[in-house]
């Protein structure tokens, strides 16, 4: 019985991760805790005093509104970081992809293993955030369990297109720019901290087109048990899958061109 090639490449990632997972998990627990404390309790105590605001938030305490959004944003952050430096590292600095290309491993296997890796890493991150959330009584719910896969899917929708970009790079110069001008604005304006309806129409529509908002909506609906029709949920999932699929398709083509030139 042989293991699929993509899984054997994934095994390499796990082998490296085995050395760092502890510190990694501590960080991904501490960060959302800080956000929940600052945003949820600090900012939240102001917002909850204002009845009009509460209504805009669907009558949720602010911490309950923010927390599910953090699931999706954390997954996005993790997925995007994993799809930038580690990809160019395996291509150019550590040359692990080059080493693989001399074996029966194909570009398709590398892309599939990257998708697995993104799901794995954003899964771990989302579970850690969910664990942090479970410490807050206003937030705690069984729905968190359903929100974790939604967060993983958001990570995939982000990570794969970004990895397709990284696979064409010869330098890391664009990565901090992407972080500053794409990831951070999305983090702030993707609907995690306030409803997009608060924004001017143009920005709002931009927000709707990004995968993050769809991920945030899914996570929030499932974590808070608020009403989200099956059709709407399917539409969100389909939209995220579309981003992931396009990213995988592009990454495969570009990796093939890069590794087998």
């Amino acid at each position: 019985m042989s293991t699929p090639a993509s899984l054997r490449v994934f095994e390499w990632k796990l082998l490296v991760y085995r050395r760092v997972w502890r510190s990694n998990i501590v960080t991904s627990f501490l960060q959302p805790m800080l956000y929940l404390l600052a945003m949820g309790l600090g900012v939240g105590s102001l917002i909850n005093k204002n009845p009009a605001s509460s209504q805009t938030l669907g009558n949720l305490p602010y911490v309950a509104f923010v927390a599910p959004g953090l699931l999706a944003t954390t997954a996005m952050m993790v997925a995007s970081i994993e799809s930038m430096w580690p990809v160019i590292d395996a291509l150019m600095w550590g040359r692990q992809y080059e080493a693989m290309s001399a074996t029966p491993i194909e570009a398709t296997d590398i892309v599939a293993s990257h998708a697995m890796w993104i799901l794995f890493r954003s899964g771990i991150a989302a579970i850690t955030v969910a664990a942090a959330m479970a410490l807050f009584p206003d937030v705690r719910s069984w729905g968190l369990i359903a929100a974790v896969p939604a967060a993983m899917l958001s990570g995939l929708a982000f990570g794969m297109p970004l990895a397709a970009w990284s696979v064409t790079r010869t330098r890391e110069m664009s990565f901090p720019v992407i972080q500053r001008f794409i990831i951070t604005p999305l983090f702030l304006f993707g609907g995690a901290f306030f409803p997009l309806s608060q924004l001017p129409l143009v920005i709002r529509w931009f927000g709707y087109t990004t995968p993050l908002w769809h991920g945030v909506e899914l996570c929030r609906a499932w974590a808070t048990g608020s009403s989200l029709g099956a059709l709407a949920a399917l539409a969100h999932i389909a939209y995220l899958l579309l981003w992931a699929a396009v990213g995988m398709f592009l990454m495969r083509r570009l990796a093939q061109r890069r590794l087998f030139a």
Partner: protein, 322 residues
């Protein structure tokens, strides 16, 4: 070593199908032609070399053979298969030592070999077993559990060679196996490669060291600017393209050109280099005596046997290593 880390390639008796067959092989990068129509065959059990300076197209050729770079023209067959359609099948049977090390510095030496074995779909147990044997073969068993990062260049190269043998390849491709290593590390590597050769492993290697080519290659091609300038065994190439001996005359700095006339008519031919004059003769001592008799005053003079360096100089007008 008791265990044989590689297959012997045993073709049908009598029929010698080449392991590699290349005809009019071309590699282009955009408008630039890196490999410009080369022909060669490599037979099972042979140690075959590409000798050439920087930029000759050695790595480009090796990557085409390794099925990681599509050919731009001509024909290439490995084990009778076409890399364009059977790349994966061919790569299963190759061992590759790339010019630049691609070991994972985060992992241990042993883990590097095991995970590489996994890429060839070996079971974990089998990969571990072979890793142990191969590390013994490259004399690095004591480093199995240490990380790759702190190893010396020569040790990393040996790990890479061990790694390339994990799938028991029918053909081993080595791109500049000893470039950048100190003499001692090079000799250790040559010794290991020589053993593989004795075990019947087919070796294809590139180098820009003529001593490496002479030590390891049964047959080689001299490559320059994407073309093959000559082909043959080291000895035959020297016989064909150089004289038996070379007289090297060194004149004071800057005075080599003005003393060139002493070399004219002395032997078969001569070469003027920036730092010396080389005279190709059959009897070096006799030639030296005549030069001195003619009134030349070289700072130093040396008589030596011709090498592949002289062959290369003759064929291209340039030295191998600048």
């Amino acid at each position: 070593m008791s265990a044989n880390p590689t297959h012997r390639t045993s073709g049908a008796p009598g029929i010698r199908e080449p392991l590699i067959h290349a005809e009019g092989l071309v590699k282009k990068f955009g408008a630039f032609t890196a490999v410009d129509g080369i022909d060669f065959d490599v037979q099972p059990g042979e140690a075959f070399g590409f000798l050439g300076p920087n930029g000759a197209g050695k790595s480009s050729t090796m990557r085409m053979i390794g099925c990681t770079s599509p050919i731009s023209g001509g024909t290439l067959r490995l084990f009778g298969l076409d890399p364009a359609t059977h790349g994966r099948e061919i790569r299963k049977r190759l061992g590759v030592v790339p010019q630049l090390d691609s070991l994972d510095s985060e992992l241990t030496v042993e883990e590097n070999l095991i995970i590489y074995g996994r890429y060839f779909d070996l079971s974990r147990a089998e990969a571990r077993r072979r890793a142990g044997e191969l590390l013994e073969f490259v004399q690095l068993s004591d480093r199995a559990k240490s990380r790759v990062e702190p190893l010396s260049g020569g040790m990393k190269r040996r790990v890479t060679i061990a790694r390339s043998l994990i799938n028991q390849p029918d053909l081993l491709l080595l791109d500049e196996p000893t470039t950048g290593l100190d003499p001692q590390a090079r000799h250790i590597l040559w010794d290991r490669l020589y053993r593989l050769k004795q075990q019947g492993v087919t070796l294809v290697l590139t180098t820009h060291y003529m001593d490496e080519a002479e030590q390891l290659c049964d047959r080689l091609v001299v490559m320059d600017a994407g073309r093959i300038a000559a082909e043959g065994s080291p000895r035959r190439l020297i016989e064909q393209h150089a004289t038996r001996e070379v007289l090297e005359l060194r004149f004071p700095a800057g005075a080599n050109a003005e003393n060139e006339h002493f070399a004219i008519g002395l032997g078969e031919r001569h070469e003027l280099l920036p730092d010396r004059v080389l005279v190709y003769v059959n009897d070096g001592d006799q030639a030296l005596a005549s030069v001195i008799a003619a009134g030349a005053k070289p700072e130093s003079a040396l008589v030596r046997r011709s090498t592949l360096e002289d062959v290369f100089l003759h064929l291209t007008g340039r030295t191998l290593v600048e």
